[in-house]
């Protein structure tokens, strides 16, 4: 069938400026740029990843929307019609990448942070110490002490394993396979430098990264790719992946295009086959079964590592999180509906799940109400865009936040949403060796470290203005938040007062 899809973008080349260096031809990984006697773009193949635009030394290239490809209609958007055409031509499920881009309310932007004035003076973080250190893991219900004969006081309570974070930001789970080894290397190095953690995602851990074990969360997902006892023990923490914010309730298929020899070895599946992660873990059909897997991992790691359980933010998230904590998890990671993905059916990504702000508030409140909040740390994922979002998340009850998309943007990602094609021009979501080489892990690590440093400084500024000197003092302190433009029920769910209301 010949395709009737109009091009989504138009690539404009200013031939007066172009000096025919062909750099755009070499840089385009989607095959859009051809060279005859001059550069000729094949508009239909352009995904607006901006690689050619960035690397054109003459700035001779601009990419624009193909404005009137579809006649204007407030009800039938160009995207809606484009999707119908695609499905009429293929009969397939629409596949997409990255997080939910739709115009749902972003509640972070309806929350405002308090500050000190006159009484309870603010603190200047440039001169006074600010504590961003966080420990993830189960905290005891109470502390007991014993006094020895010589009068020394010792802690009698046995403390469960804890992981120290110097900044309350961990990198999101992105599997080796979905992203390149250059990305994993960048994340691991940056995590080590910043005193935080990267997360393997579900594709196992490349042997080259074993030296970074103290800064790695290893994931166990339904496909059990690359999971063995050595892998479990090469970590600071083990995470059971139940769900992902971008695709709650469904499994994953890493397209065969991305399964090369190295991925095949790490995942133990044939080269070129799709890496299939079933929707559920087939040994987990209940909270009791989840508990069984948590303790299987604890047995295999000699009870030395905290175990996290990651779920997507869905309607019943608070009750599920309560079950997870009671099942023995030391950390609960909640992934909101804005969370990213390497590949997901568009209909799921854009329509399933709930915002992380509401999920986080509900989970924190539920665990407090049940008196088990200390039994697990809460990690908030899926939609953290800046340090302001992070501060608000901590005030809503998070122990730490996750950045996935933000980390990739720092590495060069332009959010073109074509991760599933394996053609990422920026060397991020690809396994093509000539593209992977484009991302230098040393440079990547530096960019990520800079981002974490910047956000840490900003978080300290916020803490200082609040008149507190540690994130412990902000955690769960919803009194320091106010809502703006929110209905009363949403305010109630978030546990915050409307702006304008005092103490």
């Amino acid at each position: 069938m010949t395709s009737e899809l109009p091009p989504e973008f138009i690539v404009k080349i200013d031939y007066n400026m172009c000096r025919r260096c062909k750099r755009c031809v070499m840089n385009c990984s989607f095959g859009c740029m051809h060279f005859t006697d001059r550069v000729v773009p094949e508009h239909k193949l352009c995904v607006a990843c901006q690689r050619c635009v960035t690397f054109c030394p003459e700035h001779a290239i601009t990419i624009t929307k193909n404005e009137l490809a579809y006649k204007e209609n407030a009800n039938w958007s160009p995207e809606t019609r484009q999707n119908i055409l695609k499905q009429a031509e293929t009969g397939g499920i629409l596949l997409t990448g990255m997080g939910n881009p739709r115009d749902y309310p972003i509640l972070w932007d309806h929350l405002l942070v308090d500050a000190c004035q006159v009484t309870n003076p603010s603190i200047d973080p440039l001169r006074e110490p600010m504590e961003l250190r966080t420990f993830l893991g189960r905290k005891p219900d109470r502390l007991e002490f014993v006094e020895s004969e010589d009068g020394e006081i010792d802690l009698a309570t046995e403390i469960e394993p804890q992981v120290r974070l110097d900044v309350p930001i961990v990198f999101g789970a992105m599997s080796y396979g979905a992203v390149s080894l250059s990305v994993h290397r960048s994340l691991a190095m940056a995590a080590a430098r910043s005193g935080t953690l990267m997360n393997t995602g579900e594709g196992g851990l490349h042997r080259e990264l074993y030296p970074y074990s103290g800064n790695i969360i290893v994931q166990v997902a339904s496909g059990r790719f690359g999971v063995h006892s050595e892998y479990l023990n090469t970590s600071a923490m083990v995470e059971i992946k139940i769900g992902q914010g971008a695709k709650p309730g469904i499994g994953g298929h890493l397209p065969g295009e991305k399964v090369d020899e190295d991925i095949s070895k790490t995942r133990m599946i044939p080269v070129g086959s799709d890496a299939i992660s079933p929707a559920p873990h087939h040994d987990i059909y209940s909270i009791e079964d989840l508990s069984q897997l948590i303790y299987a991992i604890k047995e295999a790691t000699d009870y030395e590592k905290p175990v996290s359980v990651k779920i997507s933010a869905v309607h019943n998230v608070a009750a599920i999180a309560s079950g997870i904590v009671r099942a023995g998890a030391d950390v609960v990671t909640i992934d909101g509906f804005r969370g990213g993905t390497g590949a997901a059916p568009m209909v799921i990504r854009d329509n399933v799940g709930i915002p992380i702000e509401l999920a986080l508030a509900a989970v924190d409140q539920r665990l407090r109400d049940e008196g088990i909040r200390n039994n697990a740390s809460i990690i908030c994922a899926g939609g953290i865009r800046n340090s302001g979002d992070m501060a608000k998340a901590i005030a809503l009850g998070a122990d730490a936040v996750v950045i996935g998309t933000a980390a990739l943007v720092a590495l060069g990602c332009r959010i073109c949403q074509k991760c599933y094609t394996g053609n990422c021009a920026w060397g991020i979501a690809t396994q093509r060796p000539e593209l992977v080489r484009r991302l230098d892990p040393q440079v990547g690590a530096e960019r990520l470290t800079n981002l974490l440093t910047a956000w840490s400084l900003e978080l300290k500024e916020i803490l200082g203005s609040l008149g507190v000197n540690s994130i412990e003092s902000l955690r769960g302190s919803r009194e320091r938040l106010r809502g703006i433009g929110l209905d009363s029920q949403t305010l109630e769910l978030l546990g915050v007062k409307p702006a304008g209301v005092g103490q």
């Binding site: 397939g92 496909g223 006892s229 298929h253 599946i269 044939p270 040994d283 299987a296």
Partner: protein, 248 residues
């Protein structure tokens, strides 16, 4: 000569029991006999040493999970999740086993004398010479070999009642690697749509005979009698069963 370490597991909490085994193995103990086992979970879980554990009684779920080297002999039935995500070693069950045995199995051998439950061998994997092998002497439940990406799964269907099928429905559904050998015939309607039935070639016969010989030695069965009935093999039609599912 080293003594065998004998542990009376009656009333012993699994965590304590497994700790004793792990610690003793670290100190060089190589052989264990566990008596009066009654549902203790995770026996052999995550152990990297080449020890031998004999289990007298019924072990609990996730026997040999993440195991990497030991040999476990169970002189009774076993429960769910035997050899879950196991990497290397051997598990020999002188009885039947429960559901999801060999889930995500990456290597080693799992020999079950009797029947196995639902989703046996689900998502088994392989890489080059590291190929897990599961042999069940009896019949299997539904979704046997689901999502298999590698490995060898053999069903013998011995000692089954009149009219009892050798495997349940959706046999090999979602399979995209590995092979299943079935002794006798298999009804087409029970198959997942990602597999096809093929005849064995000489290479298959060599592989199958090698593993069945070992299997027969464990359970004192007659290899010739087992091989007297023809086998069929199931293999995935495509390594990308869902390749055309999506609109790009």
């Amino acid at each position: 000569m080293k003594m065998v370490m004998r542990i009376d597991c009656k009333g012993l909490y699994y965590r304590k029991q497994n700790k004793i085994i792990r610690n003793a193995a670290e100190e060089g103990e190589t052989e264990f006999i566990l008596d009066n086992v009654n549902g203790q979970r995770y026996i052999g879980s995550g152990i990297e040493k080449k020890i031998k554990i004999t289990v007298n009684g019924v072990p609990g779920n996730d026997l040999a999970m993440f195991m990497n080297g030991p040999t476990i002999i169970v002189n009774a039935n076993a429960q769910d999740g035997v050899a879950n995500t196991m990497n290397a070693g051997e598990v020999i069950v002188h009885g039947s086993a429960g559901d999801v045995i060999g889930y995500g199995m990456r290597g080693g051998k799992l020999y079950v004398k009797g029947d196995v439950g639902y989703r046996a061998g689900i998502h088994a994997k392989e890489y080059k010479k590291q190929v897990p092998i599961i042999i069940a002497g009896g019949v299997a439940g539904d979704f046997c070999g689901e999502y298999m990406a590698g490995g060898i799964l053999v069903l013998l269907g011995l000692n089954r009642g009149e009219g009892v099928p050798i495997a349940g429905n959706y046999l090999g559904t979602g399979m995209h690697g590995g092979v299943i050998y079935i002794r006798g015939e298999v009804d087409e309607y029970t198959l997942g749509k990602e597999v096809s039935v093929l005849q064995l070639d000489s290479k298959d016969m060599k592989v199958l005979t090698k593993h069945l010989k070992e299997y027969c030695e464990h359970f004192e069965l007659d290899l010739d009698e087992i091989m007297s009935e023809p086998f069929v093999k199931l293999q995935p039609v495509s390594s990308r069963p869902y390749g055309s599912l999506y609109a790009y």
